[in-house]
Amino acid sequence: MLRNDIQVSANRSVLCMVVLLGLFSCTAACGVAQSAPDKQRWFEDVTHKAGINYRHHSRHFNNAYSEIMQGYTKLGAAVAVSDYDGDGFEDIFVTESCATCKNHLYHNNGDFTFTDVAKAAGVADGNDEENASAGALWFDFNNDGLPDLLLLRFGHSILYQNLGNGTFRDVTKAAGLDRYMNAIKAIAFDYDNDGFVDLFIGCYFQPTNLFHPDTARFFPESFENANNGGGVIVFHNNKNGTFTDVTQRVGIHTTGWTLDLGHGDANNDGFEDLYVANDFGTDRFYVNNGDGRFTDKTETAIGFDTKKGMNADWGDFDNDGFLDIYVTNITDDYMREGNFLWHNNGNLTFTDVAQETGTFDTGWGWGGKFFDYDNDGWLDLYVVNGWVSAGKESYVPDIFAMITKPGIDLADIRNWPPMGNKSLSGYEKKKLFHNEGGRSFKDEAARHGLDSTKDGRGIAVADFDNDGRLDLFVTNADDEPFLYRNILPTGAHWVGFSLEGTRSNRSAVGTQVRLTANGRTYLRYVNGGNGFGGQSTMRVHFGLGRSERIDGVEISWPSGAKQKISSIAVDHWYKLTEGQSTTNMHEWKPKR
C-alpha cells in the first residue's frame, strides 16, 4: 500500500518540529550551495539529472490531410501533477502524441529524481492508430482520497481509476464517459457543491474522426468568430462512479474551438465560475447561478473578442481579495492581438490590464501560470510560447495568401496551404514575469535561465522537494520537456496547505484560503486543473517575504463551512481536513 494517510501528528513535540525545520532548511540551503550556478539565477534545469527528459512526438496522420493535421497534435504535449501514491511527493504524468509513443508517469523518488512507472501502473498506452493523447487531468472522481487520472485524447478519452496499489484500471465505459471527443482540456470542480467534483471537458475540433474524416470541412470557419469547434461538455458526477452529460441543462452553450478552461469564484459567493478560452474567436465567461446552472455573462464581464484564446489561469495578482484571470493570445509582428490580464472589478466585470502591466506580449502564447517563485507574497507569471520552430522560411505569407482570397471557405482543410518545414511564430523566448507589487510585471526569464526558445505548451507548478520553493515542469512540442528546480536563496518565508474536504469534495477543489500576515491578506485557492496543457499542484502555497509570523488564516470550504487558524509557524507545509480542529496544528511532512 503506497498510500500515505498524511496525518498531522498531534503528539509530535515542538522540539521535533524545530529539528525537522532545521533539517528542511539545511536541505534547502545545501541545494542552493551545491547547484546554483549563479546566485542571481533562482532556477536550475535538472531535466536530465532527474531522468525526466523523454521528448514529445507529434502524430503523423495517414490520410490526405496529413501535412496540415500533424501540427495539431503539437498541442498534445501536456503535463499533470499529483501525488498519486500519497507518499508526500508530487508525481508527474506527461502525454505523448505519436501512434507508437507511450505516455509517462514519473514517480517522484523524493530526491529530485523520477522513475517512469507508467507501464507498471497501466497508464502508458494512450496512443494508437485511432487515438492521440492530447491532455491529462488528475481528479478524485470517487472521493476515495486517491487521485484518478483522465487521459484526454483526440478520439476516445480514458478514465483510469487509481486502485491505491500503484496501478490503475480503465473505468471509462462504466463511468459513462466513453464517447468520441477531440478533447484537449479538462478541469474538475464541484459546480453544485454536492461534495463530488464534476467534469468539464474542452474540445478543440468537433467530434469528427480526425484519423478517417468523412468530410474535408472540419477546420475553423473563421479566424475570428468560428463556432464550429468542439466546445465544452459538462459531466455531472452522480456520486456512484458514473457521470451524466448535463451540458445543455447547466447552460453551457458554446461550440468554440476550446483550448483551455479555468474555474474560480469571481464574486466570492461560494460558487465556482468558468472562463472558456477559445481559439479562432470569442472567449466565454459563465457565472455560476448557485442553482446548478450557469449564465453566459461574456458580454458584460469581458466583452466579445476575436482573438485566439489559449490559456485561462486564475489568481489574485494584486492581492485585492478577488481572483483575476490571465489569458494568452497571439502577439507577433503579423498579428498583434495581445494577451488579456483580466483584473477582477469585484462585480462580475473585468478590465484588461495586460498592456499597462507589461504582460501583453508573449508571442504565440500557450500555457501561463500564476505562482510566487520568490516567496514575496505576490503572484508572478510564467508563460510559454511558440507555435512551430522549423526552417527559416515563414508560413505567414502562405496563410495570409489564403485568407485574402475572396470567398475562401476556411472550414475546408483542402484550402489550407501545407506547412512543410516552414516556421510560424517559432523560436520565441519564454517569459517569467516578476510581480512588482501588484502594479506591473518585469520579465526575469533570462536572468533565471527560463527563456528557452523551444515550442512550449503546458506548465505544471509544484513543490517537488517540499522545500517551500515552487518548481516548474514545462512541456515542449516535439522536444524534451524542462524540469526547473527552484533554488531561491533562503530568507523569504512561506507556508503551504494540503487540504482535504469532508462535507466538501474530498480534494477540496474550490476551497479558498485567506491568510493575513504583516497587515496584508492574501487569497489563494485550490484549482482543479486550470491552465493550458498543464495541471499544477492542488496544494495552496503562500509566499510571505520577511513576515515570520502569520496573524490568521481563514479557510472557506465549498460546503460553506469556514475554519480559522489563529497562529501557526511559517516555513512549513500543513495538512488540513475540513471540520477538524485547527488548534495546535503541526507541520506535515512526507512519509518517505
Binding site: F223, E224, D333, Y334, E337, T404
Partner: protein, 252 residues
C-alpha cells in the same frame, strides 16, 4: 409663340442645364449633410453625403467628409458598400478609388487582427487603382505609406519607399505646402524600415529645414536605437486610428 431652336443648340442647353442642376443638387446635399452632422443626426447626414457623392463622384471633398462622418457614426460597412457601388459605376474615378481604399483603412482599428490584414489588402488594391488612374502626389504618398504598415515578413516596405520617392519627386516640383511635411516623415520612416538609417536621418533633416517647428521630425532626429524603433513602430500600430482626413490637401 414657338421659337425654333437648332437641334444641336437644344442638346447643348439641355446638357448645361442638367449639369447646373446636378452641381446645385450636389452642393445642396453637401450643405444639408453638414447641417445634419452639426446636429448629430448621422442618419440624415450620411444620406445627404451619399447623395452628394452620387451626384459628383469624383469630388474628393464630398467623399472625404462622408468618411469622416462614417468614422463618427461607426457605420464602416455602410461606407464600404457605398463605395463599392460607386466605383462599379465610375471605374475611372481616381478619387472614388482613393476614398474607397481609405474606407477600408478607417475600419481597421475596430477589426480583429486577421480582418485587419484583409482590410489592409483590399485598401491597397484600391490605392493601386487610384494611382494607376492618376499618378499624383496623394496617390503615391497614400499607397507608399500603406505599404509601410505591412509586417516585415511581407517585405512590402521597399515598395513603399519606391512610391514615397516618386511622391517626393512630385513634391519638389510643387510650391511649398503644409502637408508636404508628412512625406518627409513617411519617407524617413520607410528608409528606417528598410535599414537605411542614414537616408532616414537625411530625409528627416531635409524636412526639418523646410518645416523647422515640426515635432514629429524633431522627435525622430532626437531618438536613436530602441527609442527610435519604439517611436516609429508606435505610428504603425493597427489598433490606432490612422488620420485619413484629406482636407489638408485643399486647406493647407
Amino acid at each position: 409663340m414657338i421659337t425654333k431652336i437648332h437641334p444641336i443648340l437644344f442638346a447643348f442647353l439641355v446638357y448645361v442645364s442638367g449639369f447646373a442642376a446636378t452641381a446645385r443638387t450636389a452642393a445642396d446635399e453637401y450643405q444639408q449633410a453638414l447641417k445634419a452632422l452639426a446636429a448629430n443626426n448621422y442618419k440624415e447626414a450620411l444620406s445627404h453625403f451619399e447623395s452628394a457623392v452620387v451626384a459628383e463622384p469624383d469630388n474628393a471633398v464630398y467623399s472625404n467628409e462622408y468618411r469622416k462622418a462614417i468614422i463618427q457614426s461607426k457605420e464602416f460597412d455602410r461606407a464600404l458598400d457605398f463605395f463599392e457601388k460607386r466605383v462599379r459605376e465610375h471605374p475611372d474615378s481616381a478619387n472614388l478609388h482613393l476614398n474607397y481604399g481609405f474606407a477600408y483603412v478607417d475600419k481597421i482599428p475596430v477589426a480583429g487582427a486577421i480582418t485587419q490584414v484583409i482590410l489592409a489588402d483590399r485598401a491597397l488594391t484600391q490605392f493601386t487603382k487610384s494611382v494607376e488612374l492618376r499618378p499624383d502626389w496623394i496617390g503615391y504618398y497614400t499607397r507608399g505609406q500603406s505599404y509601410l504598415f505591412w509586417p516585415k515578413i511581407f517585405n512590402r516596405a521597399p515598395l513603399g519607399v519606391a512610391d514615397l520617392e516618386k511622391a517626393m519627386e512630385i513634391q519638389k516640383k510643387e510650391p511649398h505646402r503644409g502637408y508636404h511635411v508628412r512625406l518627409y516623415v513617411a519617407l524617413g520612416d520607410g528608409y528606417w524600415k528598410t535599414d537605411q538609417l542614414e537616408k532616414a536621418i537625411a530625409t528627416w533633416r531635409a524636412g526639418l529645414q523646410e518645416f523647422p517647428d515640426n515635432a514629429n521630425l524633431k522627435r525622430r532626429l532626437a531618438a536613436s536605437g530602441d527609442d527610435l524603433k519604439t517611436l516609429i513602430e508606435s505610428g504603425f500600430d493597427p489598433a490606432k486610428r490612422v488620420n485619413t482626413d484629406l482636407s489638408d490637401l485643399w486647406t493647407n
